[in-house]
């Protein structure tokens, strides 16, 4: 799939990236105005990774996500109003107000959930891959995580299980150069995180995470390998988080210049330039995938979808404390085969 030359793909990629950006900006704004509770981890600047990666997936494929998960959720096809309702602590939110930003999941689209625990989703992805394998399915699991997660024990154990059992999992690292204040330069003794893959005997590549095409191509390769029984792979996508880690971040560990230099590499602006023909594309001259007015349409669509989601969410009833203990345990369901009642 060529995102920059195929109009339909270009439109989808651009609208998705703008939707993520507008969603995050709206959350940032509502948070600042005291309309949202808790804490938020925004993915502004990183939109190309979930967009490119999820465009390489098919219906039924799974993802596991992170604390910085709004983009993954949107790119996998979640409903914006149910996401917004969750953040606004509404009964109509994805988790009925129980989970909030760090726990949004959309099981219907294969999103097994954001995660408040760094690397928590990595072994879970291996397990989902194991389930697919054991029930003879053809789905693939993409596990998103940050650079920081790569130093957790859970990451190593999860990746190794997927590797030794040839599970259909693609490990996608959003290397935004920091885990909170800890830079990758201080946290790792290797040049690229993709090198870690080699220690587990699986392929590892490093790509430009601000280019949805590059992310898509690497993930599509890995998905194809996984789906055809070739086992897991690791894709490291180099990107950058424009905003602070969370609301408490004073950005003391990085310079204004560094942040500015990455803002100049805005993944959305670069993609717009590429799809309208302004980008330097190698090879034969092809007609631009999108016109300036197409681009404007994508932007407007994204903005309107986010506005509509806020309107719908605001009108919904607040999460209900009376039913607080209801969902601690699942109700008895279908027992496994072969049971006999006492």
């Amino acid at each position: 799939m060529t995102l920059t030359t195929d109009p339909e793909s270009a439109r989808h990629a651009l609208t998705t990236m703008w939707t993520i950006r507008r969603f995050e900006e709206a959350v940032d704004d509502m948070f600042a105005r005291g309309l949202m509770h808790g804490t938020m981890h925004l993915s502004i600047g990183q939109e190309a990774v979930p967009t490119g990666a999820c465009m390489a997936l098919s219906e039924g494929d799974y993802i596991t996500s992170t604390h910085r998960g709004h983009g993954h959720c949107i790119a996998k096809g979640a409903k914006l109003d149910a996401m917004m309702a969750e953040l606004l602590a509404k009964e109509t939110g994805y988790c009925r107000g129980r989970g909030g930003s760090m726990h949004i999941a959309d099981v219907a689209t294969g999103n097994l959930g954001a995660n408040g625990i760094v690397a928590g989703g990595v072994p879970i992805a291996a397990g989902a891959g194991l389930a697919v394998r054991m029930r003879g399915g053809s789905e693939v699991v993409v596990s998103f995580f940050g650079d920081g997660a790569v130093n957790e024990g859970a990451w190593h154990e999860g990746v190794n299980l997927a590797a030794i059992w040839d599970l259909p999992v693609v490990f996608v690292c959003e290397n935004n150069r920091y885990g909170m204040s800890m830079s990758v330069d201080r946290a790792f003794n290797v040049d690229t995180l993709a090198e870690r893959a080699h220690g587990y005997g699986i392929p590892g590549v490093t790509v430009d995470g601000n280019d949805p095409q590059a992310v898509h191509d690497a993930v599509a390769d890995a998905v194809q390998r996984a789906r055809s029984g070739g086992g897991p792979s690791f894709v490291e996508a180099l990107t950058y988080r424009w905003k602070g880690h969370s609301k408490s971040d004073k950005n003391l560990y990085r310079t204004r210049e560094e942040i500015e230099s990455w803002r100049e590499r805005d993944p959305i602006a670069a993609f717009e330039a590429a799809v309208t023909g302004g980008g330097a594309t190698a090879g034969a001259a092809t007609a631009p995938a999108l016109s300036a007015s197409d681009v404007e349409e994508c932007r407007t669509l994204a903005r309107d979808r986010v506005r509509e989601a806020i309107r719908t969410a605001n009108a919904a009833p607040d999460a209900d404390a009376a039913t607080l203990t209801d969902a601690v345990y699942a109700p008895a369901g279908e027992p496994i085969a072969g049971g006999a009642r006492a």
Binding site: A89, E152, M182
Partner: protein, 347 residues
């Protein structure tokens, strides 16, 4: 009965003849304890995620990296098991490490090193080695951080012989108990509370130790003994104030350390009032207040009870995100007033 210098008066202002003590926030008090310990003893050092330039996830380490350098205020990767294990090793090999875990929930990652290593090494080796280390971590709900960032896990640690467990509820105790924890030759888990970090109180400037294992009497009362931990201590005090206006005299005890536990003070108080209300933020089932309830009913205070020993705890549910749900999940001042009033009026 132990009455400590930071005990709040039953009512009315502090004796005006006394020198007005300096006030610090709880988090400043923790920082001051670490700074004084590091200044006094080269073996003491702090490490954990973002404790350096960032100043700690909750700003507790603040400027310590500028005062003591990156060697002794050491940022780590996100590797809780490795961090705590390194503290165990450093302690075994002669240092006095302080580890900060950003949220007490993430001690789950490090549990092998806490429960199987740190807690047991001294005993397993027949006393031949010690693991002098302190693990500081904030617990508790009230910040909208939801189920994986809001737990009150003191019972996990208190259930492991070999660990000491501390829950400071005032700024003075945050400093004084931490200093005792650093002195201690055993692994000590210090559970701070997120909602307390910004609360201020008088704190001695000198590195005054508050001994581990002394229950503080925060308020005396004759009708009911309220035992509370962590952020529930200030809620219990507020409730006691309101109960007093209603003619109910409630005492408030703060165990401060769960291991070692000064149950004497608690039992004596309950023997005098005949009623016990035990308040914790953690879920009720298997919680530490169940232990305190058992100590009371196993003691001679049993014969003096005028009412069943009663627990007021968090719901048996994970902490939810929505603010109205989060509030409903753990005891609030109103709940304490109602429950204590019931105990006194009904029995």
């Amino acid at each position: 009965m132990t009455t400590t210098s930071d005990t709040r008066p039953a009512s009315g202002p502090v004796d005006s003849a006394a020198v007005e003590p300096r006030t610090l926030t709880y988090s400043e008090a923790v920082r001051e304890a670490m700074a004084q310990a590091m200044a006094a003893d080269d073996r003491v050092f702090l490490f954990g995620e973002d404790v350096g330039t960032y100043g700690g996830a909750f700003g507790v380490s603040g400027d310590l990296v500028h005062r003591f350098g990156t060697e002794r205020v050491r940022d780590t990767p996100i590797s809780e098991l490795g961090i705590v294990g390194a503290a165990v090793g450093a302690g075994l090999a002669g240092m006095r490490p302080i580890v900060e875990i950003q949220f007490s929930d993430f001690t789950a990652q490090a549990m092998d090193q806490i429960a199987n290593q740190a807690a047991k090494i001294h005993f397993m080796l027949g006393g031949a080695a010690t693991v002098p280390m302190v693990l500081r971590a904030p617990g508790g709900s009230g910040t909208g951080a939801a189920a994986q960032h809001s737990q009150s896990l003191e019972a996990w640690f208190a259930h492991v012989p070999g660990l000491k467990v501390v829950m400071p509820s005032t700024a003075a105790d945050a400093k004084g108990l931490l200093l005792s924890a650093i002195d201690d030759p055993n692994p000590v888990i210090v559970l701070e509370h997120k909602l307390l970090y910004k609360q201020s109180g008088p704190v001695p400037e000198e590195p005054v130790r508050v001994p581990l294992g002394e229950t503080a009497v925060r308020r005396t009362g004759t009708d009911v003994t309220i035992v509370a931990t962590g952020v529930m201590v200030s809620r219990a005090l507020e409730a006691a104030e309101r109960l007093a206006a209603d003619g109910v005299s409630a005492g408030v005890l703060d165990p401060r350390t769960l291991r070692p536990l000064d149950d004497r003070t608690i039992v004596d108080s309950v023997a005098a009032t005949g009623r016990a209300l035990l308040v914790q933020e953690a879920p009720k089932t298997g919680g530490f207040m169940s232990e305190i309830a058992a100590r009371i009913v196993e003691s001679p205070a049993f014969g003096r009870l005028q009412a069943p020993v009663s627990r007021l705890c968090g719901l048996d549910a994970p902490i939810p995100y929505a603010p109205q749900l989060e509030q409903a999940a753990v005891p609030q001042v109103d709940d304490i007033v109602t429950k204590a009033g019931e105990l006194v009026r009904r029995w």
